[in-house]
Amino acid sequence: MGGMKKLINDPADVVSEALRGLALAHPDHVRVDHENRIVYRKDAPRSGKVGLISGGGSGHEPMHGGFVGPGMLDAACAGEVFTSPVPDQMMAATKEVDAGAGVLHIVKNYTGDVMNFEMAAELAAAEAGTEVLSVVTDDDVAVQDSLYTAGRRGVGVTVLLEKIVGAAAEQGRSLQEVADLAKKVNGNGRSMGMALTSCTVPAAGKPTFELAENEMEVGIGIHGEPGRQRLPLAPAKDVAALLVDPVLQDLPYSQGDSVIAFVNGMGGTPLIELYLMYNEVRQLLDAAGITVARSLVGNYITSLEMAGCSVTLLKVDDDLVRLWDAPVNTPGLRWGA
C-alpha cells in the first residue's frame, strides 16, 4: 500500500497551514481568524444582510472556505481533515456575521456536523440572543433514507445551495425566506458519486480503503468512506449511467424538467475526464427529455486526492436560475462580478 506522498510538513499542521495560504492568496476576498479556523468574507458583517455560515471537515476544498465572499458565504468554519468543526467555531462565526438580520447555518448531514452545529446554535441563542435557522443538506441517493438511520449524506447539492442561497441573501431576503429557499434547493437536488481510488487522511498516513487496479467503488461519499457497491471498472458511458439513473429515478425527475447539471471531481481526476463524463451525462439527460438550464464541471466538493466524480442534478425554476446567474466573487467560484 506504500507510504503517504503529500505536499505537507507535519500532518498535524495541514489545516492551519492551508488556511494561512488561503488568506495570503485571497486577501481581496477573505480574512481568516487563524485561532478559531474561520474564513470570513472580508467585509463581514454586512448590515441588514442575513449571515450565511457553513463549515465542515477539511479536505473538500474549495468547499467551504473557497466559497466565502460576495454572493455566497459570510463565514466558513474549518474542522480537521474529514472531522466536523467544533461548536466554539460556529458560535464565534455566528456572533461575528450577525448584522441584525439573523444567521443561517448550512450543514451537511453527517452525525458530527449536525451535533456540533446544533450545540453552537443552542449556545449562540442562549448567550447572544442571535436568531439562527439551519438547513441540513442530504442529497446523496447512494444512502438509504430512513427514520432509523443517520439518513442521507449532504454532498454536491451543498455547493449549488451555497451559491443560490448566497445570491438570495445578497438581495436582502429575510432569514425565513432564505431558509425556505435553502430547503427548496435541497429538496430539488440529488447526487451520486463513485471512486476510482481511495484517499489518504494525513493523520492516518495510509489509504482509507483499498481498491484493486480493475475495480471501482460506486455510491461513495466525500470522506473516503467505502461505498455501497464494488464493481469491475467500466467505460465512462456505463459509469455515467450508474450515476445518472439512480439520481433521475429518485426525485424523480421527469421529461420537460429543467436542471442545473453538476459533474464534480473528487480531487484526483483531471478536467479532461470530467468533461468526458459531462458529455456522457448530457447524452443521458437528453435521452430522458431533461433540459439542462445551466451546468457546472470541475472540482468543487472533493475528497482529498480521491479519483472519481459525482453527478448532481438540481431541478430549477426561473427564480433559481436567476439566483444562479447572479454575481459571485469567491476564491472558488466567480462570475458576473
Binding site: G79, M115, V143, T149
Partner: protein
C-alpha cells in the same frame, strides 16, 4: 482526594487512548472515516494540558471542564458525545460524596446525555452498545454489595462484551450506517473507546 482520583483517571485514559489511537483509527477506517483515534487522542491530550495548568476544588468542576474541553477539541460526533457525557456525569456528582451509588447515578446521567445527543438505540452499532450493558452490570454489582472499584470492573467487562457483540451488527447510526450491510463484520470504534474509558476507570477509581 476524590479530585485526585478522577484526575488520575483522565490522565490514565489519555495515555490509553494515545496508545490505542492507531487501533481506533484502523477500526474507523473499515466502517467510518479514519479519524476516531486521532480525534480522541487530540481531545484527551488537551484535557491533560488543562489538568497540568489548573487545580480543581471539586470533582464536578474537574469533570465539567474535561467535558467542555472535549466538546471544543475533538470535533466529529465523538466530541459532542463524550463531551456531553463528562458534562452531565460531572454535574450529577456536584455536592455529592463519591460512592458506588452516586457514581452509578452519575454514569446514568452521562449516558442519558449521549442518548439525547446521538439518539441511538441498543443494537444500532454505536458506543451505546457498550454503555447499556455496562450500566446494567454496574447496578447489579452494586446491588450485590460491590464497592466502586468492583462495580466499575463489572461495568468494564460488560462493556467489552457489548463491544465484541457490535461486530456482526449492521450500523444504523453515524457514518458506518452509510455502508448498510457492509458494516457487518467490523467492531464499532465508539464502543471500543467506551470500553477503554471504563477499563481505565476500573483501574484508577475506587
Amino acid at each position: 482526594m476524590a479530585v485526585e482520583n478522577f484526575a488520575n483517571w483522565l490522565r490514565d485514559l489519555a495515555n490509553t487512548l494515545h496508545d490505542n489511537a492507531a487501533y481506533l483509527t484502523e477500526l474507523d477506517s473499515a466502517i467510518g472515516d479514519a479519524d476516531h483515534g486521532s480525534n480522541m487522542d487530540r481531545g484527551f491530550q488537551a484535557v491533560v494540558a488543562v489538568l497540568d495548568e489548573t487545580s480543581f476544588d471539586s470533582v464536578d468542576e474537574l469533570l465539567k471542564k474535561a467535558g467542555m474541553t472535549l466538546v471544543s477539541k475533538v470535533g466529529g460526533a465523538s466530541g459532542p458525545l463524550y463531551g456531553t457525557f463528562f458534562l452531565r456525569f460531572g454535574t450529577a456528582l456536584a455536592g455529592a460524596e463519591v460512592t458506588a451509588e452516586t457514581v452509578g447515578e452519575a454514569l446514568k446521567a452521562g449516558v442519558g446525555g449521549i442518548l439525547a445527543r446521538g439518539k441511538a438505540e441498543l443494537g444500532d452499532k454505536t458506543m451505546y452498545d457498550a454503555w447499556a450493558p455496562a450500566l446494567t452490570a454496574y447496578d447489579e454489582a452494586v446491588a450485590g454489595g460491590s464497592d466502586l472499584r468492583g462495580a466499575l470492573v463489572a461495568a468494564a467487562e460488560a462493556a467489552a462484551k457489548g463491544r465484541d457483540e457490535t461486530v456482526p451488527l449492521v450500523a444504523r447510526k453515524g457514518r458506518a450506517s452509510y455502508l448498510g450491510e457492509r458494516s457487518a463484520g467490523h467492531q464499532d470504534p465508539g464502543a471500543t473507546s467506551t470500553t477503554l474509558l471504563l477499563e481505565s476507570a476500573a483501574r484508577t477509581l475506587g
